[in-house]
Symmetry: C2
Subunit: 213 residues, 2 copies
DNA sequence: CCATGTGAAGGTATTCACAGCC
DNA sequence: GGCTGTGAATACCTTCACATGG
């Protein structure tokens, strides 16, 4: 093993591997080869080995990788062992769905607070989380929450982000379809759902052809 | 202009530019320089010019790009001028949010049908779309719908995809957190929300440090 | 003069092929 | 024999620098 910097593309794939390892562990397996994991997650086996080689020797030649120790290491690299609590801002249709979404738990992440500006929503409890008044967002500072998900209308995204930064948030998952400006120490990942759908037609088989491209 | 193949990374950015152009047009502009668009969407100006250079000369030196003709060309490349109608499979929390989501319209995309297996949901109308019985999915063939969004539990994703492929669907946006197997002529984009959140902690400033990484 | 368009340079990630080890 | 780990080769994408044209 060398002290390589881990490429961003590898970081992007680590959560994929992690989920694959978890599911495999649930099936009762204790170790897995790069080939089986490849079939399971849809990444080439040599790509998987290369990715893992950036951060250590976890495999046993002739056998494969120990699932538990590899999963633990990936969690450590992604810092999922330290960061676990997230806040949701904007409890509309999408926000409500995110509150109910069971998928975050796999990665050890948990939405423990929610904020909205609508008085009709404030005070209501959904999935064990009571919706708070957005004007009280500064209280996050004392609550060990450094991760935020924002699901507000596009025009409200920048103001919301500014308040979150002031409240000490360090990372933001933004569902609003726009660029937001932040101090560079803060990380924002923008996930524009419509945009993903929009690039799908490009890859679809052209009309007029009868068979594959 | 050369007859370059358009790189995948450029295709990924085209919807970003398209949205930027639309918003700029709404502000009353008729043309825009690569520099202004860069500020607006968060991509370098030289990257933007390079991207546009793959598919033609749309700019006027000293002035910028004509918004309308550029937008039209991008839509044509992405084939958003032909593919407009989509079906939703799975009307749970996330599916309902997607039905209500206003963002698809920007790209000319429209969810015109929805399916679910739950008898309590079948027959109800949400946002102008009546939820149909999933066993009737084959009727899609006669309805000029080639794009599907699936928002079903992980274990149901593969069966749902198989039925969609049989019903003639050509492109799928998959929200279920798993790989799905399909004939290679069909394009699937999997969007795992939790996974995006999971790679955020890696990029956040490390605790203990006072300033940037 | 200003902003586009593009070869060339530089950087990053993927793929290959095989040596090393269980 | 089977599977990992990795340098080398390749492909791809980004950045630069500047010629080109309205």
């Amino acid at each position: 093993m060398r002290y390589h910097k881990i490429p961003d593309e590898t970081i992007r794939r680590l959560p994929v591997y992690l989920r694959g390892l978890m599911v495999s562990a649930n099936h009762g397996h204790r170790s897995i080869s790069s080939g089986s994991l490849a079939d399971f997650v849809g990444v080439n086996s040599w790509q998987i080995r290369k990715d893992f080689s950036y951060f250590g020797d976890f495999g046993t030649r002739g056998v494969g990788y120990n699932i538990e120790s590899l999963a633990k290491e990936i969690k450590k690299i992604l810092r999922l062992d330290v960061i676990r609590r997230a806040v949701l801002v904007g409890v509309g249709d999408l926000g409500s769905a995110l509150l109910a979404y069971p998928g975050f738990g796999v990665y050890g992440l948990d939405i423990v607070a929610a904020f909205d500006v609508d008085p009709k929503k404030i005070g209501r409890t959904m999935n064990g989380v009571t919706i708070e008044d957005f004007t009280r967002i500064a209280t996050l500072k004392e609550r060990d929450i450094s991760l935020a998900i924002i699901a507000v209308p596009r025009t409200e995204a920048q103001p919301a982000v500014d308040r979150l930064v002031a409240a000490g948030i360090k990372g933001i998952l933004n569902f609003a379809p726009c660029k937001v400006s932040i101090p560079k120490r803060i990380k924002v990942i923008t996930l524009d759902i419509a945009m993903e759908l929009a690039r799908l037609p490009y890859y679809m088989p052209r009309a007029g052809r009868t068979e594959e491209p």
